[in-house]
Symmetry: none
Subunit: 198 residues, 4 copies
DNA sequence: CATGAATGAGTATTCATTCAT
DNA sequence: CATGAATGAATACTCATTCAT
């Protein structure tokens, strides 16, 4: 019961946190603001989360679990490889559309610096890198199925980043996301390169 | 002479700043830490730079000028379009190899958040975005020369990002940069897509 | 209740601030010193006041409201003009006796400089000047009732200042305030000038 | 020779300091700004003055000497007392017109607080208070000559302050100083009080 | 003497975290 | 469990003063 209630409240807080970050950006995020936004006391947050880092990990955690699940469904399904690739793209675009803050998190927190000096890495940054690792491992298999012979890991990474790049491009240039059009574009670019646009 | 000394010290501080940022990431960067890292007093920094923002812009400024110059040389040269593309890749890789901290700056400071919340944008972030704008404008011409009919702006952005992606990938996975090999890889991926690796 | 406690502490801090300023003057006043003087942490001050300016305005605000009220009562009453003038003097002296720090605030913060350089004016300085304005407007009426034909505004200002001058004189020369005696003195000087002392 | 040069430069710096303070107000005054305004190095200032306090005393010193001299001339002259009083007023108004910064200095630095806590007093504040003391002593004699029987010291103080009050009033209300008119006004007020304006 | 780079203590302010209620 | 007042270390920045050249 209590645990249940606890879980509920925890989830409610996380939802609010996402909402806030999505609306106001990441660097302005503070515990006070979150508490006020949730309509609870600052101290209460610390009953549910060890600290800000912990909360930030949890903010990401379940949505990353969600991706894991969706990716598993697509890659473990019975479509042709190309169909899977297209599905991956559509799912990725839809996901980032609904979780724009994660895009920012990725941009800001999956830091190269953390690789050189892991001690200074943030917990949520580490978490995101672990997910990236998992994703690349998983995606390499698809590339293998598609007959890709070399550099599968790099290409897996490119896939992950290129999708974010498209979202970033849209944001930076004020272009609207159109999943049908943009999924096609991405597929063409990723599979055939610039050549496809000649 | 004195001016020379001033310039020297200014450059020395900027060098140290780059070193620090390269090693520890951007968001942890403070004036106190830099002062200590330089072995000078906090106040001294303010004899050379108006404020933190100013210093951070200066950290980027001259090297961006350097890129501008090199890019102009390649794109304004007499090579075939494909030759130019290859040269751009080699130049870009070499540049990032020598200026690894700029990679982080880009990752951390060309923020999507700043497009949604421009008020919170930093001066050096704006500076980098302006450079990006310039680069894309310039690169679109090459794509046009290569006969690319559609989505040239997006593809220009992809070029810029893909190069950084390769560098990031190397860092994240501990892979060594090999300009010959990696330039070929990038050319293949960018021009022909994943297909080229089948 | 809680609000009550809050208000209490807020008032306690303001009281301490007045005490400190009364004892040490205004230009030396800092948030650190106040915090230490209150025996609380620096950050705590910011739980009660937005910033130093805000605190300094609040230091003055309620007591100025008090003067407003008392002045209205006297000037709006049914005494003869001369009676009103005498009452004003007694009230003013009593007020400054009980709020010596305000004397310093006036001396230091209703700055002539702020008129020449309004950009550098402080919020509490502006506040005090607005009160002065109000007072002069109000007092001009009394002078009119007394049959004063010319220079009423200047004379209103002289009234305000002369009262402060007496207080300052007492402080500077170690003379004790004696309201009966000093009210008479002021009345004589203000109404009849030096002549009255011949 | 050298001493002469030294004295010359010292005076030049003091002149510049007055000019700066008169133009920009007192609270913004810093050694760096003065050095730049003089076109010399910061360190040079310290060859001529022990510290900022010392410089600020010297800024006042000679002009106060000037007043001393003028006051002596008037009070020691052969005019009738009333003539002397009128001369004092005209001389005072002219002096403050030409040395507006001293008005600010008086307002800000002859602090009541310094009487209660002399340890925190500034050197130039002390200097100004000493001058005030001298002035009051000197002026009391005139009042005596005019047949003033009581409260001569207080009235001397009032004289000093009232003159400043008129200047302040002009500044605060944007009124222009007109020495003929304002000297008459002051004489009437000081000698006959408000009564004279009925 | 003149210089001006270097200093460091000091200023206002923020914010993650704790703890008595 | 919930609260929110209190904390204090940290941040960017200033400026009177010193001292090697």
């Amino acid at each position: 019961m209590v645990l249940n209630m606890e879980k509920h409240k925890r989830q409610a807080i996380l939802g609010k946190a996402r909402e806030w970050i999505g609306a106001n950006g990441f660097s302005e995020f503070t515990m006070s603001k979150l508490a006020k936004f949730c309509g609870i006391a600052k101290g209460t947050l610390y009953n549910y989360f060890d600290n800000k880092e912990d909360l930030m990990v949890k903010v990401v955690e379940d949505r990353v679990a969600e991706i894991h699940h969706e990716v598993e469904e697509i890659l473990g399904g019975s479509q042709e490889p190309e169909g899977k690739l297209r599905s991956m793209i559509r799912q990725g675009l839809a996901f980032y559309r609904d979780n724009l803050d994660l895009l920012m998190l990725y941009a800001n927190e999956v830091k190269i610096a953390d690789c050189k000096f892991p001690s200074s890495a943030t917990a949520h940054g580490r978490f995101l890198r672990e997910h990236l690792e998992w994703f690349m491992n998983r995606f390499e298999q698809l590339l293998s199925d598609m007959g890709v012979k070399r550099e599968r890991r790099l290409l897996a990474y490119f896939f992950h980043e290129t999708m974010k790049n498209l979202m970033s491009f849209n944001m930076l240039s004020g272009r609207e996301l159109d999943i049908d059009r943009d999924a096609d574009l991405l597929y063409s670019f990723y599979f055939h390169g610039v050549e496809a646009f000649q």
